[in-house]
Symmetry: C2
Subunit: 261 residues, 2 copies
Amino acid sequence: MADIKQGKIKSRESQLSTTLKDQLRCQSCGLTPLCLPVGMSEAETEKLDSIVHRNTPYHKGDHLFRQGDKFKGIYVITSGSVKSYYINKHGEECIVGFYLPGELIGLDAIHNRVYSCSVAVLETTSACEVPFSQLQSLTSEIPSLQHQLMCLLSKEVHNDCEMVAILASHSAEERLASFLLSLSSRYKSRSLSALEFNLSMSRTEIASFLGHAVETVSRTFSRFQEQGLLEVNRKQVKLLNIEALADLGGNTLTSSTTGFP
Amino acid sequence: MADIKQGKIKSRESQLSTTLKDQLRCQSCGLTPLCLPVGMSEAETEKLDSIVHRNTPYHKGDHLFRQGDKFKGIYVITSGSVKSYYINKHGEECIVGFYLPGELIGLDAIHNRVYSCSVAVLETTSACEVPFSQLQSLTSEIPSLQHQLMCLLSKEVHNDCEMVAILASHSAEERLASFLLSLSSRYKSRSLSALEFNLSMSRTEIASFLGHAVETVSRTFSRFQEQGLLEVNRKQVKLLNIEALADLGGNTLTSSTTGFP
DNA sequence: CACCTTATTTGACTTAGGTCAATAAGTATT
DNA sequence: AATACTTATTGACCTAAGTCAAATAAGGTG
């Protein structure tokens, strides 16, 4: 809870061995094609790398930051996953998003310099912390960094619009199908299996995100399984009929763009 | 429908008289504090102004662009309002957002250079068109433009997160209350009345946006009126009890941040 | 002005999904 | 390993919201 405050970050970082650090540099990171260094030269990537903090892995329940904290920088998940949530006035946790490796966190805090959500780790997770003031200085030196940051912001806007589309679709089946397909395609673009993956979030967290009761999520999973659309065993999911799921959950921007009138 | 295609933009523009054009320049625009020129010098603002296209007003049903169109630039509403929507696979119109004066449209298309939604005008509306390639060139000359563009992108991400929070809140009352409060605060920050305004969108459009049936939206309006929370007559809305509405719809990021635990 | 079309409201009925409660299957703790 | 604790599933029941249908109101058009 308090373990990411103040100087602790530096102490975490110093625990990492030099060899491990080398493996984690931007230059050798497998997520580079999704991340900030897109289009940057070796030398530029090195400059970016030099401002990035890499802490020791976070553990389930740890927080990257909390709702209301002063904005320091953006985070990129390198492994694991996190949830972004806020506490509503009834004291309930409302989940606004999940982030997977290669995804940027904290972009919404740039404009007012305050994190509007808390971000907690769902499983053992590594993340890069990119101090924003330094990032901003670098952008004036490195045009492609500037460009890529803007593209990533734009992509985030796009993803959020898609999420709005999913949430406005009424049925529980549509929402869950869209959610699973979203995870699937995100895993795929990270060269992970698009058909078989582990849900790092609980049913309760999925329910909160999709705006349903836990029981509804659970029942919908069961129904999908009965219908042969997927196999589910607790956190382990295997999608058996992507097309049928897409038919259900196809109420999204991207899929509708392909079937554009 | 086809009236914004190709050279038509220029012919529209040329119809504007020189005096009218002067009134519409960025330098004298009342929306400047919300828009791109924030933090820019007089000379820089003039440069920005010179790349902006201002067309003759659009009329209800006109499109700024359509889903699938190649990305040309971003638009800023200067008066009136528009809806952003896509057509789902059942051929239904799904509304993803409404935009008011001072709000930027098309930010989600920067990253892949394709508009993912159609944007149609809800009432007589004026908009500035900012060609993106020229805007991008200007950003390298004008650091504060760069910065402001990023802030606006960040703000858009933030707004979208808020929308996700609203849509994940279950009840029709919560959603409609949040929607009305969102409009209210947006009007307020544009120095318009926060308590009394005109809905430029139809009940059907509100329903589509909030993911409800039209009848539900209509009934919820009626219930709010019975409870004395507002007065509504067709498009005309007068909020009578903002606090009570906020209690209902307070499931949002910003309001929860104030009542932060 | 009369007619037509479209938007909104309201009522009656139905259903998807919420709530409550019990059970089962994992996980963590001692 | 036994215990307690948490998470997920399933059933029974109920309510909010969807659907269908009709009435009303507003706007548009010849």
